[in-house]
């Protein structure tokens, strides 16, 4: 890829939003390659030229980390792609990730003024384009770390929250070590979100970038087991700790048959597929059952990812069982759309009652019940109510429970003085990440519950600023 010289700017509103070129559904269900190909340089420039460079840009307010959107888009419009990448990186260390998985339609693109009359600027696609440009051309500028402060910070968990804190703190001149329990850093970006939506090479390139910026990474260390937080502070000489351990505790429905063989949590199914590359079995050693009929229970991004992964693992029928209607589905519209194109069989207003197995303990059927929507519940969504005598059975070989994740109790359980709420989430100040324990900060999914990459990064940025302040002043 090379930077290009754009043609003169056309009149605003004269260009339509540029569609994303992508693999046709019939082809992509047979591979794990990324679905959208990404903009070409020409498409990117054309799309960037749509932006009218608002004086008071609404898009920036919609972005949880306040990316300088009009500035970077202007650079794209001028063909200055590498500079555009640097502009984004001033506030967002992981643009290649955010450009792919952020819910832009609800964030920056939702308030974009162009959206009032037509389609908003494709900010996410442009972000992805410039991040890819920078990586592919090898033109990645490594910022110099700040002058050493002599302070040491431990980051627990190498997900987006932890990586962001690490990136910011090395820039302030602190000595930073990320401790990651798994054998690869990246968190959900590595083990949860599938290859076809977020290639793992890209995640690793982002992790390496943070390392090149000066952060140290120690994988295979489970904080709370291998080392406790108190030991980090008292024995290993860390001055502060940031806990970004994510929402890694799978929920089950506690209905009959849930422990039959073939009933997976989405975490297990996706970890086998992504982190352990089960789709490459037996070249990779970790297996995943190849079967004909799969039921996925849930309606969020995790459910979409599970269903689309199952399809690619060779399943003929993939049922997505969700107890409300499509309107209430928490998944991104784009992902629902992709799933539909790929032939996922949506069983909306359906709820599983039990799983039935054979003599060998394998799941063979799921019994479902049809639902209808009643009055709104505490979440504001209309409450699903069972329809009488509507039970029916679906033949299945694998079931993937994608009904949410809670807080993993490992760190709080081994850290006296670290307070949690009734769901086990660590209690932390939303603005600073300060917890009940002096010197310990927390942010991301472990604090707010399963959310988004960009919210985890936003929390990371605020915590990094607060950690820096604490280290320099000693004030808690």
């Amino acid at each position: 890829m090379a930077e290009i010289t754009p043609k003169p700017r056309p009149k605003p509103f004269s260009i339509p939003r540029q569609p994303m070129p992508e693999q046709p559904a019939s082809v992509r269900v047979k591979n794990f390659n990324e679905v959208p190909y990404g903009f070409t340089a020409d498409l990117a420039v054309l799309e960037a030229q749509r932006c009218i460079q608002c004086k008071n840009p609404a898009c920036v307010k919609g972005c949880p980390v306040s990316v300088k959107i009009p500035e970077f888009i202007d650079l794209v419009a001028k063909g200055k792609f590498a500079e555009a990448a640097r502009k984004i990186k001033e506030t967002n260390a992981l643009p290649a990730v955010c450009g792919r998985v952020c819910p832009q339609e609800e964030q920056c693109e939702a308030p974009c003024v162009l959206g009032k009359k037509g389609d908003p600027v494709a900010i996410g696609r442009l972000e992805r384009f410039v991040a890819d440009f920078e990586r592919v051309t090898g033109n990645v500028e490594i910022p110099k770390p700040g002058a050493s402060t002599g302070k040491k910070v431990a980051i627990v968990g190498g997900g987006p929250a932890g990586l962001t804190v690490a990136g910011d703190l090395v820039a302030f001149g602190h000595d930073v070590t990320i401790f990651e329990a798994l054998h690869k850093a990246g968190g959900v970006l590595m083990y949860g979100i599938p290859e076809f939506r977020l290639p793992k090479d890209i995640v690793q390139a982002e992790v390496e970038y943070i390392q090149k910026c000066g952060a140290k990474l120690e994988c295979d260390v489970v904080i709370g087991k291998t080392i406790t937080i108190d030991e980090l502070l008292e024995e290993e000489g860390f001055d502060a700790v940031f806990v970004g351990t994510g929402a890694g505790l799978p929920y089950f429905m506690n209905i009959p048959g849930e422990n039959l063989i073939g009933v997976y949590s989405a975490n297990e199914y996706l970890t086998r597929a992504n982190l352990m590359k089960a789709y490459d079995f037996p070249t990779s050693d970790t297996p995943l059952s190849k079967v004909k009929n799969v039921a996925v229970v849930g309606g969020g991004n995790v459910a979409m990812d599970s269903a689309r992964t199952a399809k690619r693992m060779g399943a003929e029928n993939v049922y997505l069982i969700y107890r409300r209607s499509k309107k209430e589905m928490p998944a991104r519209i784009e992902e629902i759309h992709h799933a539909e194109e790929e032939g996922i069989d949506f069983r909306l207003l359906n709820n599983p009652l039990q799983f039935i197995g054979n003599e060998d303990g394998w799941v063979t059927e799921v019994e479902c019940q049809v639902m209808e929507l009643g009055e709104p519940d505490a979440s504001g969504r209309r409450r699903p109510v069972p329809v009488k005598d509507s039970e029916y059975k679906l033949p299945v070989d694998v079931v993937i429970m994608s009904i949410g994740n809670g807080a993993n109790p490992l760190v709080p359980a081994t850290t006296p003085g670290l307070d949690t709420n009734k769901w086990g989430n660590i209690l932390a100040d939303q603005e600073t990440g300060k917890t009940s324990k002096k010197g310990v900060f927390a942010g991301g999914d472990i604090v707010i519950g399963a959310a988004t990459v960009i919210l985890a990064m936003g929390a990371g940025r605020k915590a990094a600023a607060a950690i820096h302040d604490y280290l320099m002043t000693g004030n808690w």
Binding site: I227, L260, P282, D285, G361, N408
Partner: protein, 283 residues
């Protein structure tokens, strides 16, 4: 990387390895395990930590070759290094002075039981050990168990060595002889732990077993290792690995451990083919 310091076969298809993993060695208590990965394509394999030396920073594992991953591991020599070693994982064994404790080991189960038995003994208990295997060649760590036990009984299913019979036969005889038993700890193949729990159940002798379900992350994130204990779902990697044998749903555990038989066979065949020799695993 985690260098292998020592590697040798100690019984047919049973291997002993000492690995440099200082952080794990420093922290580990009896009853805990680690997860290792040989290389980039490797599975995450859970194995009990049999011993550790915090000073030299090493941990010891003893494992049986049952499939591709353990076969590959067994071929690694001193000087080579493992890609990943994580631990110590799981809860440490609860040890106190119970009185008389009978440690029942089946086959490879002697390896995980040895450190537990040692701390049981060190806590002032009277320790009776029953070590059993299918035949003479499969008895491991007999001398080590003998050294720490007040009494040691060895059994072989086929009578090729010591006392003929199952470990449960020996345990039943102790119970029949009205020996006072305060606690039984049984580690071995699932059918053996189940049988031991059935022997002690009518006599209300508290029986702890150490479960070995299929695991992936081993940090409580994936739920692969779930078992039913007293009607509740537990994750063995964080809630265990030890549980009250009278409450464990062994039937479910046995079933769930068979989840990948088909795929494991494929992997093993490919491995043997590539390697040009037969590793012949048994379980």
């Amino acid at each position: 990387m985690f260098p292998i310091v020592e590697s040798r076969e100690i019984a047919k298809n049973v291997f002993f390895q000492k690995i440099q993993a200082p952080r794990v060695a420093k922290k580990r208590k009896a009853g805990q395990f680690l997860v290792l990965r040989k290389g980039e394509q490797g599975e995450r394999i859970p194995l009990t930590i049999v011993n550790s030396d915090p000073v030299e920073g090493t941990v010891t594992i003893i494992f049986q070759v049952v499939g591709k991953s353990t076969a590959e591991l067994s071929q690694m020599k001193a000087g080579e290094a493992l890609q990943d070693v994580v631990g110590p994982l799981g809860l440490a064994t609860h040890v106190e002075n119970f009185g008389t404790v009978v440690c029942v080991c089946g086959g490879i189960g002697t390896a995980p039981l040895l450190p537990i038995a040692t701390s049981i003994k060190n806590a002032g208990n009277k320790l009776v050990s029953i070590v059993g295997a299918r035949n003479k060649d499969l008895i491991i760590l007999e001398d080590e168990m003998k050294a720490i036990s007040d009494e040691l009984i060895v059994t072989t299913d086929d009578g090729s060595y010591a006392k003929k019979g199952f470990v449960t036969t020996a345990l039943q005889e102790m119970i029949d002889a009205k020996t006072k038993i305060d606690l039984v700890i049984a580690i071995g193949p699932v059918p053996m732990m189940r049988a031991v729990s059935e022997v002690t159940r009518p006599h209300n002798i508290k029986t702890m077993v150490s479960l070995n379900p299929i695991m992936v992350d081993a940090t409580g994130m994936c739920g692969a290792c779930r078992v039913t204990v007293g009607g509740e779902t537990k994750f063995v990697c964080v809630d265990g690995p030890e549980f009250d044998g009278h409450l464990v749903d062994f039937k479910e555990l046995t079933m769930r451990n068979r989840a990948y038989l088909r795929e494991e066979k494929v992997a093993m065949e490919k491995f043997e083919h590539k390697d040009g020799k037969c590793m012949g695993g048994s379980n």
